[in-house]
Structures are given as structure tokens and as C-alpha cells.
């Protein structure tokens, strides 16, 4: 009786225990699945956070505060013809701007006040004014309204806490803040689209700095990279897939290619510095040196992806070509390569995308120099977009921070376009054999 009872309760409890254990197991199952989902969401949230953070910081850089001044161009002598560049360069534009400012605020009469007033305008405004007048000489002799870039502190002030009623911003005093308010009320201070950002090169003054030089540098560097790495990479892939005998030698090449794909990029920079610049005397800071280094870096990517697409071409195509009497070279170049070309291009574009974002090895070969001129050839000193981002990120001015973020947005836009092209090519020409 007792024992049966015991058995009974034990039986019940076994079932219950099983039930409980099953519930626990199912709960563990759900938890496990949740961990997986959570980790993906964590990574994606981080990415979202990154994009929002950078876009939120950067979008303001696409606008630049400008101040409209009425410059009295009748008050100074201008050379008779625009051809006389030296004559135009000799005109006292700073004086013109100062007088226009003093006319707006006659109450600022002390030397200190006048200097504070002139600080509202960018130090580069004189060049902007000069170029504007040289572009349209018919302005000369009249009083003309000109939009000139404001100083970066003014720009930050206008973009930042203008509406909060806060007066002092650290770098501008109360008096300057009051002037800015007056200018804005009179319609003389507005935010315009920041064309300078896209047409100018690097500068010490944030309001005059742009990414044009870096973009051109990136273009030249990638051009060299593409011209070298595509033929060499595809050639190596063709050899390894179609011609190479299976022996230790080709094994060695294969191991090498796979290893190079995982060598840290900075080591390629050391190679470039020691071999290309110091040994072969390739010019420092030039896109050609950068292109060489990036070629070596992107080659493994191109070789590996090209080999995969060549491998995917079915053997029947090869056999058919050989069967009608083509030589091996003819078979490869007339039949296999055309079939594999879209895939090879996809791999190349992806490799170019990596090269476009690469920074570290280019620091080693001197592409970090402060370069104001826009490079005109692959031998001119240049910098590239990611290095420009790195340089600006180091600058203490707050205005450079938003420009860094804006430059990142441009870089990401280029990468999105390149990768979208690669995806499109893959989708459009993908063949299922």
C-alpha cells in the first residue's frame, strides 16, 4: 500500500518532472534563439547608431553661413583689363571688406571693436571677393552686394545655439553675437549651400576647406590601382585555374595569395615605403606610389574572386571549344574569359571599394601631407579621401568635425554606389549552369 502509494506519487512526479524538464528545455530553446536574434540586432543597432551619429554631425556641413556686404568698388582703382592678374592681386580687398563692415556698424569705432567686427568674416573672404570681381568685371565702379563666407566660429554659432538665446559661445563674445543677430535680422546673414566643400582643396580655415583635392587624389590612385590590379589579378587567376599544373610550386603560389589576403594593411605600407619609395625612387605622396601599394593589397581579392568565377564555368564549354580545334589559349580567351568577365568585374569593383576606403598604408608613403593644390597627374603630391578624413578628425576646430563627418558621408556614398553596381552586375549577368 505504502509502496504503491509511493510508486504512484513517484510516477506522478516523474511525469511532472518530465513536464517541468521539458518546459525548461523549451525555455532554453527560446532563450537560445533569442540570443541569436539579439546579437544580430545588437550589431545592426550599432551600425544604425554609427550612421545616425555621423549623418547627424555631418549634414550641417553642407551649408555654410555667408554674410552679404555692400562693397564700394568705386572707392579703389582696378586695373583696366582682367588680363592684368598682378594688378588685380594687388588691390586691397581687405580694406574694401573692412569699410563695408564699418559702414554697417558705425558704432564700432574703437580699434578693438573694429578688429572683433572684422573677425566675423573669414580670412579667406578677400580671395573670394577678388575671384568674384575678376569673374564679373562689370561690377567695378559701383557699389555691389557680395555674399562672403563667415568665419568658422560664426558658422558654428549660427548652426548651433543661435536660437537657444545663449549669448556667449566661448570663441565669440557678447558683442559679436549681438552683431550676428543684427546681421541676421537685416537679411545680411544666411546659410547657403556649401559649394566650397566640393570645389576647394584642403585649407587651414574650415570654411575654405573642401574635398575636391582629396577626391581627385583618390581618383588618380584608384585609376593606377585598377589599371594594374585588374589585368594582373585576372591573369594570375587564369593561370592558376586553367594552365597551372598541380605541383608544389602552384601550391606555394596559392598559399601565398591566401596569406596576402590576410596580411595587415599597414605591412603593405612598410613594403611600399621600403621598396617603392626608398629603393625604386617613386615620388613620395604621389598617387602612383599609393596605387602601387593598393594594387598589391587588392590583388588577392581579385585573384580569389576571379578564380571562383572561372571555376564556375562548366567544363562542357571548354571541351566543346577544344573539340572544334581551338588551342588552349584560344579556348580560355575566346570562351572561358568572356563567360567569367561579369563575375571578375564584380570582384574587381569590390576590391576597388576596399582600396577606396584604405587609409593606413597610405599614411606610410607620405600621402598625409597638407596639400592645397589639386593634383593634376599621378605624379603630383596628393592625398586621398580617407586620409583627408583622418587629417580633419585630428583638427581641433569644431567646424572641422562636421566637415569630417560630411566627408565620411561622401565616402560612404561612393562605396554604396560601387557596391550597388557590383550587386547589380552579379544579379544581371549571373548564370546558373
Amino acid at each position: 500500500m505504502n509502496s504503491r502509494n509511493n510508486g504512484n506519487t513517484a510516477g506522478q512526479s516523474t511525469a511532472e518532472r518530465m513536464q517541468r524538464k521539458l518546459r525548461r528545455r523549451y525555455a532554453a530553446e527560446r532563450r537560445f534563439k533569442l540570443y541569436g536574434l539579439v546579437s544580430i540586432l545588437l550589431a545592426l543597432m550599432f551600425m544604425l547608431f554609427l550612421f545616425i551619429g555621423i549623418f547627424g554631425k555631418g549634414y550641417t556641413a553642407f551649408q555654410q553661413t555667408q554674410i552679404r556686404l555692400t562693397v564700394d568698388l568705386a572707392s579703389v582703382e582696378f586695373p583696366a583689363s582682367v588680363e592684368d592678374i598682378d594688378g588685380f592681386y594687388a588691390v586691397d580687398y581687405a580694406g574694401l571688406i573692412k569699410n563695408a563692415l564699418y559702414a554697417l556698424f558705425p558704432e564700432a569705432s574703437s580699434r578693438r571693436d573694429r578688429r572683433a567686427l572684422y573677425q566675423l568674416i573669414s580670412p579667406g573672404a578677400v580671395y573670394v571677393l577678388r575671384d568674384r570681381i575678376m569673374a564679373s568685371p562689370e561690377m567695378i565702379g559701383k557699389a555691389a552686394d557680395v555674399w562672403l563666407p563667415a568665419n568658422d566660429d560664426v558658422d558654428m554659432f549660427v548652426k548651433g545655439n543661435f536660437n537657444t538665446g545663449e549669448t556667449s559661445t566661448g570663441r565669440l563674445d557678447d558683442q559679436q553675437a549681438a552683431w550676428i543677430r543684427v546681421l541676421r535680422e537685416n537679411g545680411r546673414l544666411e546659410k547657403h549651400f556649401n559649394t566650397t566643400f566640393f570645389t576647394a582643396s584642403d585649407s587651414r580655415e574650415p570654411e575654405l576647406a573642401g574635398i575636391r583635392g582629396a577626391l581627385v587624389g583618390s581618383f588618380f590612385t584608384l585609376l593606377v590601382t585598377l589599371l594594374l590590379s585588374f589585368p594582373i589579378g585576372v591573369g594570375a587567376a587564369i593561370y592558376l585555374e586553367e594552365f597551372a599544373p598541380r605541383n608544389r610550386w602552384t601550391d606555394l603560389i596559392e598559399v601565398n595569395v591566401n596569406n596576402l589576403a590576410a596580411v595587415p594593411s599597414i605591412v603593405f605600407g612598410l613594403l611600399g615605403l621600403a621598396v617603392f619609395i626608398n629603393f625604386f625612387g617613386v615620388p613620395r605622396s604621389a598617387p602612383v606610389a599609393g596605387g602601387f601599394v593598393l594594387t598589391l593589397m587588392t590583388l588577392p581579392t581579385i585573384i580569389i574572386s576571379s578564380r571562383a568565377v572561372i571555376k564556375a564555368v562548366p567544363p562542357s564549354i571548354r571541351e566543346a571549344a577544344l573539340g572544334v580545334g581551338a588551342s588552349k589559349v584560344q579556348m580560355v580567351f575566346h570562351h572561358v574569359v568572356p563567360q567569367a568577365l561579369p563575375g571578375m568585374l564584380t570582384g574587381t569593383i569590390i576590391g576597388m571599394g576596399q582600396a577606396l576606403g584604405e587609409t593606413a598604408p597610405l599614411l606610410m608613403i607620405g600621402m598625409v601631407a597638407f596639400i592645397v593644390d589639386i593634383p593634376g597627374s599621378i605624379l603630383d603630391p596628393a592625398t586621398v579621401l580617407p586620409v583627408q578624413i583622418f587629417l580633419w578628425a585630428d583638427s581641433p576646430e569644431r567646424a572641422f568635425m562636421e566637415r569630417t563627418a560630411a566627408a565620411i558621408m561622401v565616402l560612404l556614398a561612393f562605396l554604396v554606389v560601387m557596391n550597388a553596381t557590383a550587386v547589380y552586375l552579379r544579379k544581371r549577368y549571373e548564370k546558373k549552369w
Binding site: F46, I266, A360
Partner: protein, 460 residues
Amino acid sequence: MDANRLLILVCLLACGAYLLGRQRAYSISGGAIRKLRSLPGHYGFYSLILTAVPALFLLFAWSMLSHTVIDRMVLANLPADMLDRPAAELELLLNDVKNSLQGVGSSNSNTALIGSLAARYTELARRAGLLQWILTISLCTAGMAWAWKHIRIDYPAQHRVERMVVYALIGCSLLAILTTLGIVLSVLFESLRFFHEIPITDFLFGLEWSPQTAIRSDQVGASGSFGAIPLFTGTLLISAIAMLVAFPVGLMSSIYLAEYADRRARAVLKPALEILAGIPTVVYGFFAALFVAPMLRGLGEAVGLGVASESALAAGLVMGVMIVPFVSSISDDVITAVPNAMREGSYGLGATKSETIRKVVIPAALPGIVGGVLLAVSRAIGETMIVVMAAGLAANLTANPLEAVTTVTVQIVTLLVGDQEFDSAKTLAAFALGLVLFVITLVLNVIALHVVRRYREQYE
């Protein structure tokens, strides 16, 4: 400039040679192409290759070497007493000569000497240019003539051309070996020069890193000690933090994608994760320095912890996120490669999905996952921009993630950016660090690739 025009001329000549060779083959066959041993185009390519390839090689070698040779010849002309001066001084003199040629003011006061050397330099450069033109053009013509002579009805042009194509392809694939060789030699060579000055044991086991070498002997704060241990520990600390983030997140993401997600979710989530791998590292660095580091600092202040503004934690966290897609894509590959029969066997015994994954799939996929993790570690060790921008320069020997540490890559960048004399221990130290970095990542990669390969073979 002149060389560029010559290059264009060689290309034009090569095109001409192609047309000429093809025409020659036509005319030899007398209209009956079938009599030719190869197609007319092959004869064209044959004469193109003979015309262009030797000339291009000459052009290339000449541009590489001519500057050095001219420099030597200019210096060889110096008065005997000047030749005994140290090499660095002669180098300086040459720079002055080149500057004066470009119209830049030179620092050298001896304008008469500079002027005469500059005149000699221009004269030599002019002659060298002329010689280059003559040699290149005659090489082109010789090639063309050779081809013209050899084009006969029974000449196996196709065979020759195709053999040269294959040689060119072999050359392309040899570049991979040459690159590795170049890396090893350049890094090793400079490192040996460094170990000549600083004993290798001091470098590998020294506890203090302050690479400022004194210019004067009485200078303060320029001890010039090259103990790399603080750099190694800093690198390890940041990589460990990165892996602590990347391993669980990456592995769990890949498990979810491979085992749980339906086809539609997978098609969206997998590329989305891979976007993380496509973001340039400089962007991560900016983000770490501008957003993550201040945020951690604020959090630390809130709980009463002092967090350095360039803490190892910030750099490591962001690097971890960057590495997530590497871990997840490799794990995804190896998990999907585990045969379904194993899963089904486990389900048949009554295991739940998560039990199957933990007890059957993961152990089966373990070698591949380990390989992937090793690859990820090697990437973390070699990562540069994030640590340059978000980790500090202070070589602290610490295991506290809230403090600033520095890494091998950061030091390579700071040692080599700006400073350019190639014989100081400071510059050479960068190459020694590069050697360590290369060897460690190479070992990790070789092991990882080997493990992954073995694993693939196991289930094929």
C-alpha cells in the same frame, strides 16, 4: 614627360607592327590563307610582341635606374677633396642641385659649385633622354625587322604567341610570391639594421617604450628605450576586448542565420551584417573617438570610475563590432557545411534544436570556427586606423581596459609619419615592429587557413 611621349610612340609602333605583320602574312600566302600555318592575326601579334615587349622593358628599366646613374655621374665629377665627405652630405648637395634646377631657393651658399653641377646635371639628363629615345626606337625597329624576316608560310606564329601569353600569365601569378618576398626582405633588412643598434632581447623583453632618441647627449626626456612589451600587452588587451565582443555576437548571429532564420530573413540580415565589413576603418576610428569614447567616459563618471579619454575599452569595443562580420561569415560557412544527417540523427533522439546546435553542430563545426576566430584575431592585431584614432600614444604597461594603452600598429604609424631620415633607430624601430606584426599574423593565418581547409576536406 619625354618618357611619356616615348611610351605613346612605342604603343603606336606596336599597333603598326601588328597591322604590318598581318599584311605580310596575307601577302605571303598570296590570298590563300589556308596555306598559312597560323592565322594572319597570329603573325600580327607575333610582330607586335617582338616590337613592344623588349622596348617596354628597356623603357621601364631606364626610368627606374637613370636617376641614380645620373646622380652618380654628377657626383663623380666633384673635386677630389669633396668626394671624401660623408654620403649624407653629398646627398644634401644633390638635393640643392635639384632644387636650384626647379627654381627653388637653395640653402647652399656655394652658388658657383651648385651652378656648375646643375649645368652638368641638365646636360647629362638631356643626353640620357636622347640616348633613351635612340635605343628604344632602334629596339622597336629591330624587333619589327626580325618579325618581318621570320614571317613565312610555315612559321608557327600561333605556337610562339601562345607560349608568350602563358609566360605573361605565369608572370602575373608570380607577383604574389614577389610581394611576399618583398615584404619579408624589406621588413627583415631594416629590422636587422635596427637590431644592430638595439639588442633584440632589449626590444622583445624590455618594459619601457620611449622611442625619442636624443639629438644632443644632454637632452632631457629622450632616453630612447625600445622595450616593446608595453606595446604587445596593449595590442593584446585591445584585441582581447575586441574578441570578447566579436566572438559571442558573431557566433550567435551566424547560428541564428544558419539554423533559425527563414530564407527571407536571411536574405535581408546577412547582407546587412556584411555592410559592417564594408565600412572603412577610418570611419570606425572617427566614430570611436567622437562618440564611443566620450560616452564611456560619461558612463564611468556616473558610476564613479575614472575612464581615460582614449581608453582601450572604446577602441576594443568598436574594433569588436568591425570584426563581427568576419567571425559570422566564416562560422556561417562552416555551420552550413555540417551534414544534415547529423542534425537529423540528433532530432531523432528527441533533442531540441538548441540542444542539437550546442551538442552536435557546434562540436562538429568547431575546427572551422576556431580557424575563423584565429583569422579574426589576426585582423584585430593588425587593425590600424581605429587604434590610431581612438587609442592613445602612451605606452602604459597595464591590464586595465579603462586606461589608455598603445599598440604595435599605432607606434608604426607615429614613428613613420613625418620623420623621414632612414638611419635613425626611431624609424628602423617601426620596421622591427612591422616584422613582429607580420610574423605573428602570418603564423595565425597559416594555422587558421590550414585548420579551415582540413575541416572542409573532412565533410566533402
